[in-house]
């Protein structure tokens, strides 16, 4: 036993991915829905534990690598864990853990009996794919795991109750496949000019032989491809409907994980693969990303303001919030990345909480129409208050996590000398206040439209527990952000100076 534990420690990077990956088919074999659910939550717990284990390892040793198949790095596939990896792993596995507890209380979509365990299999495959994208240090491996998670995601979205879920899933499939193929092409062009696929090796070769038009083309394809997956403003078309029509538990899972991992891939490739010198000094990438972000965060709230469906409104808000993260990434500085990571984490927990609260209300009332929400706050106090708190955090009021990340973002833009960017950031906050307050006004002050549902459905522990944990985290990190800021800052530092 004693010998097994240090052995396990060495294999933690791969366990993070293969545990869900191999439990998924197992879930399928068992064929029982109850068992599958139990296994899903258990797996989520194990994954979170592995992440914490990895975190404690990275504190002793900044970079952990793992050669798959025993083949040394550029020839085989390599896993690489550093502070940034751990930060993202922690974010997505935390959200996944809570989302899978929340999922216990939901109907699993519009499924026949035979397909029910398959839903949980797809769920596990989705999160396994996302974890795989985070840990790997191989460009092509990113593509493979991206596809695993994407296919599972399309499936999960299509399980929504309304038939439009199918069309939304199809449109996401087409958009996602185009995006992934762009990424594949980008990897191909990089391979063409370097002869390697390992991210660290690629970055070394690019630095040695310098860039050319092919590499520039690869960068452009990569940005577009990953932009689709992140739902960066002009490439966001798939997201609102996908989030709206997906089953509630799936929306909860996706909003906190899928786009976040895509953003991580963006950060990782820009800095570790193409290199900051190429992207930000040679190419005007900072301008491109910042300008798209400005458009996103100023225009999208107005679309959200005219939205008639609660879930889709918050989906639009996700598009707007992604813009802040993209702006942080676009600055390309240490503070910018720190702000992006902070906002990524904060938005993950806040939006997950909001979608959970929305899910609770939809489950009780059967509608997500905004005009049906009148007086809901008095009927579903807990869920409404969480939604309010989440909304305040989206606005970025002091005392919420949203303020912390926006403050760091503003500090970052001032630090870069682009202090005028503070104005669109603040204006974006104000614009989000408009759509949040529209909901608050209806829920708290308008008369009830719907008949009260017959039995006052009480909150089950699988509903209030994950919500309380998320709200507690959001509150705590809003008041005392030193822990999470410290992590984000050392992750950003590790990314920019891998040596020291």
């Amino acid at each position: 036993m004693d010998s097994l534990i240090p052995a396990l420690e060495n294999h933690l990077p791969i366990l993070q991915v293969i545990v869900p990956l191999l439990i998924a088919p197992f879930c399928m074999i068992l064929g029982s829905r109850r068992l599958a659910r139990g296994i899903m939550v258990l797996t989520a717990g194990i994954m979170l534990a592995i992440t914490l284990g990895l975190a404690s390892l990275t504190l002793q040793q900044p970079v952990i690598t793992y050669d798959l198949g025993g083949w040394a790095a550029p020839w085989g596939i390599e896993y690489r864990v550093d502070m940034l990896t751990v930060f993202i792993l922690f974010t997505i596995n935390l959200v996944h853990m809570l989302a899978s507890v929340f999922c216990l209380g939901r109907q699993d979509g519009n499924l026949g009996t035979a397909a029910r365990p398959a839903f949980y299999t797809a769920w596990l495959l989705c999160i396994a794919g996302l974890n795989g994208m985070v840990v790997t240090n191989d460009a092509f491996n990113v593509f493979v795991f991206l596809e695993i998670s994407s296919l599972a995601t399309y499936t999960l979205i299509s399980c929504g109750r309304e038939p439009l879920a199918l069309l939304s899933a199809f449109r996401y499939l087409v958009a996602g496949a185009v995006g992934a193929t762009f990424i594949l092409l980008s990897i191909g062009l990089l391979y063409m000019q370097t002869g390697t696929l390992n991210i660290s090796d690629l970055s070394r070769v690019i630095a040695e032989r310098g860039s050319d038009r092919t590499i520039i083309l690869a960068l452009a394809f990569f940005i577009i491809g990953v932009g689709v997956k992140c739902a960066v403003f002009p490439l966001h078309d798939w997201l609102p409907n996908a989030y709206r029509f997906a089953p509630d538990s799936v929306t909860v899972l996706l909003s906190g994980t899928a786009t976040k991992v895509a953003l991580y891939v963006l950060i990782r490739f820009l800095h570790d693969l193409f290199g900051a010198d190429f992207g930000f000094a040679e190419m005007p990438l900072d301008m491109v990303l910042v300008v798209t972000a400005i458009f996103g965060l100023l225009l999208v709230p107005f679309i959200a303001l005219r939205e008639s469906n609660l879930k889709r409104m918050f989906a639009w808000s996700s598009v707007a919030q992604v813009s802040y993260i993209v702006m942080g990434i676009g600055l390309g500085t240490r503070l910018g990345i720190e702000a992006a990571l902070l906002h990524l984490f904060n938005h993950a927990i806040v939006k997950t909480a909001i979608f959970m609260a929305v899910g609770i209300i939809i489950a009780r009332t059967g509608t997500a129409r905004i005009r049906h929400l009148g007086g809901m706050a008095h009927r579903h106090r807990f869920a409404s208050c969480i939604m309010l708190f989440g909304g305040l955090s989206l606005i970025g009021l002091p005392g919420t996590v949203g303020f912390v990340s926006k403050w760091v973002l503003v500090t970052a833009v001032v630090d870069k000398g682009w202090w005028w960017l503070a104005i669109p950031i603040l204006a974006g906050s104000l614009a989000s206040a408009a759509y949040v307050w529209r909901i608050v006004e209806i829920m708290w002050t308008k008369p009830a439209v719907l008949k009260p549902e017959a039995p006052a459905a009480r909150l089950h522990w699988v509903e209030w527990l994950p919500l309380s944990v998320l709200a507690g985290l959001a509150l705590w990190f809003g008041l005392n952000a030193s822990l999470i800021t410290g992590l984000a800052s050392s992750a950003a530092l590790g990314l920019l100076n891998p040596g020291g």
Partner: protein, 122 residues
């Protein structure tokens, strides 16, 4: 400069654009998937072309051969083809379900339908 030069890449590029045009322009869901296939195949062509060495042969080791083409792009594209067919299969399964739900596979016809609201008792 040997003759085909960059021709393969240029053709791949045109195929890529053709695929994109089909995906963007068509309202028929099946045609979109066909377009997606062409789009992906253009990328496959880029990979396979870059692995080719003139006068090389397939990378199966044999005493009588001295020049082999690059095996790595082949491996990658094997995987990519499988991914492509998996995506197509899921897409087609979705199309089949969409047809059952709406009786059509034309996006315009589906979009024209009013959204069904849940029953509300005021």
């Amino acid at each position: 400069m040997s003759f085909p030069g960059l021709l393969n890449y240029w053709v791949a590029l045109i195929l890529l654009v053709c695929g994109l045009i089909i995906v963007m322009d068509s309202r028929n869901l099946v045609k979109k998937l066909v377009g997606l296939g062409i789009f992906q195949s253009a990328v496959f062509l880029v990979f396979i072309t870059l692995g080719k060495k003139s006068d090389g042969s397939a990378p199966i080791l044999d005493a009588s051969v001295s020049v082999y083409s690059n095996p790595l792009p082949h491996v990658l594209i094997l995987t990519a083809i499988v991914v492509g067919v998996a995506t197509t299969a899921v897409g087609l399964a979705l199309v089949a379900r969409i047809r059952r739900a709406y009786g059509t596979i034309d996006e315009d016809e589906i979009d024209d339908r009013p959204e069904v609201e849940p029953e509300i008792v005021p």
